[in-house]
Symmetry: C2
Subunit: 313 residues, 2 copies
């Protein structure tokens, strides 16, 4: 019987693929091989090209990465057709065995947040039917509105074996302006970290990790120790590898001694792997390029993790 | 020639309708007259019913309220079909002369935020075409990621005469947990208010108001004076009237002496007006009920505003 708790499912996938890598799906048109843009001249054809590109990346990484992270904005940019593409890509990834972390950074309260939760992770009630919409495995959230903005998503996550990753310490320099403000009990993001640890305490799976995760940028390694201490049983989603300036050597700071507790996210570094592929048609280059890039990133992380005694296999 | 700056367009609409009211469009199925739910049994038919309901509300309030505020979550709940409904409702409202404030509370950085901005307010580039997607007049945002999360939306707003409303002090009790934290220079939300005032200083229209607005809940009237002082030329979008416990008597605290600078938002109190209508078919009840409720709310605000010397007409 498969584990139904989100964190247990994540750990299962991590062990099955021997990788921690979360592959971002950011289908900006400029990131696609030119052949996939042939005939693209409206929102519907753009959305179809984006979906085709993402399916290629998914097929390439399905057995070498535990999860993908579609960025909702790049689908929403194509309007209703883009949402259709997001639904299709999410279903394709789940069918391939990947976990899907929808990067939507939603945040609202009450029935509004419940509507986001039903759409992203749960079921929407239409008459006496309960219908899945995105049916992702987890979603990213923003904590600015406080605990009430997380609760409706937690309720749905608990009921359906899903998870959430809440913004704590993001990778951009300007994050200092709100998250980094000093309060009597630490900086704002440390207070958010405490809140997440509280919420996660009663929500741990068999492996000890909570279904409430946090987003913490690799570009702030100095804060990794504090965040890890404040949220020992929280999975950290760690963007910032590569183009944003985060170094693989810093990643082990975010990881627990069991080799778990943090997953790095990389988007262009994987999905752009097709640029390094010489032969074959576009779809094959996307697939092979993503696979090669994912394996290479996992390998780049292996050394630092092994030296820190945190390579799990 | 119509004013192209968002704040000027808003003031024009306010004066044309002699009302400050922003009418929320929250088409949860439970809020619709039962007749509109006949035959609704999947996401597509639910989205169509939601759109029909919103069109009725729009037709009812078009000449008695300056703007509508569709809540993205209630459209997203119906998947791609819901996004299609949101696009349709937005176009219907703009054609009726209403300004459309898309309540999406987005927040991300870099090219991701640029994609949200292009979809919500601007144009999306497909090959050599620039296509509108939602083409709303303004959008709500979350500031947790700092100034970089606002800049791409500001760029698009500046270029297209659009606006934004950033969460500052929300109406829910738990907002204290993040927004209300004390820092050496005031609470977190006061720091966000300062940031918005800075960003707005170079972005004022002919009437002196910026295209950078703020969301501040009516349920915290004690903070109104501080917020007003920190952001004198910022339009405040003020939810919380009615069901959330905000009192019309407190609204003038948010308003400047020119009778401008704040707009109250009400959703169910207007869109649920059909419940007070006896005869006619469902669409007529929705239209007439919304109109009557909007006029009644404006009237309820008139007394307190007039007593404070802030009734503009």
């Amino acid at each position: 019987m498969p584990a139904t708790h989100f964190a247990d499912r994540l750990v299962e996938r991590i062990d099955a693929t021997r990788s921690l890598l979360v592959v971002g799906l950011d289908p900006e048109l400029g990131q696609l091989p030119p052949e996939l843009l042939d005939g693209v001249d409206d929102l519907a054809s753009a959305a179809a090209a984006a979906a085709r590109f993402c399916r290629g990346v998914i097929d390439g990484v399905a057995d070498v990465a535990p999860a993908v992270k579609p960025q909702s904005a790049f689908f929403e940019a194509f309007g209703a057709a883009g949402l259709h593409a997001l639904e299709e890509v999410t279903a394709h990834a789940r069918a391939a065995g990947l976990l899907v972390i929808e990067d939507a950074k939603r945040g609202d309260i009450g029935s509004t947040m419940a509507a986001y939760a039903a759409a992203a992770l749960g079921r929407v009630r239409i008459g006496d039917r309960e219908l899945p919409v995105h049916d992702a495995d987890a979603v990213t959230l923003s904590p600015y509105l406080g605990p009430e903005s997380l609760q409706p998503m937690l309720d749905v996550a608990d009921a359906h074996g899903k998870g959430l990753f809440v913004l704590v310490r993001t990778s951009n320099p300007g994050s200092a302006r709100v998250q980094g403000l000093q309060t009597p009990d630490g900086r704002v993001f440390e207070q958010v970290a405490r809140l997440l640890d509280e919420l996660g305490a009663k929500r741990r799976g068999r492996g000890g990790y909570a279904n409430v995760g946090a987003v913490a940028g690799l570009t702030y390694p100095d804060d990794a120790r504090a965040l890890r201490a404040l949220m020992p049983r929280t999975f950290l989603l760690v963007p910032g590898l590569g183009p944003q300036g985060g170094a693989p050597e810093d990643f082990p700071l975010f990881v627990n001694d069991d080799g778990l507790g943090a997953v790095p996210a990389a988007s262009r570094a994987v999905a752009g792997g097709w640029r390094e592929q010489a032969g074959g048609d576009a779809e094959q280059r996307v697939r092979d390029g993503a696979r090669a890039a994912a394996l290479s990133l996992t390998e780049q992380l292996r050394g630092p993790l092994a030296r820190a005694g945190k390579w799990r296999w």
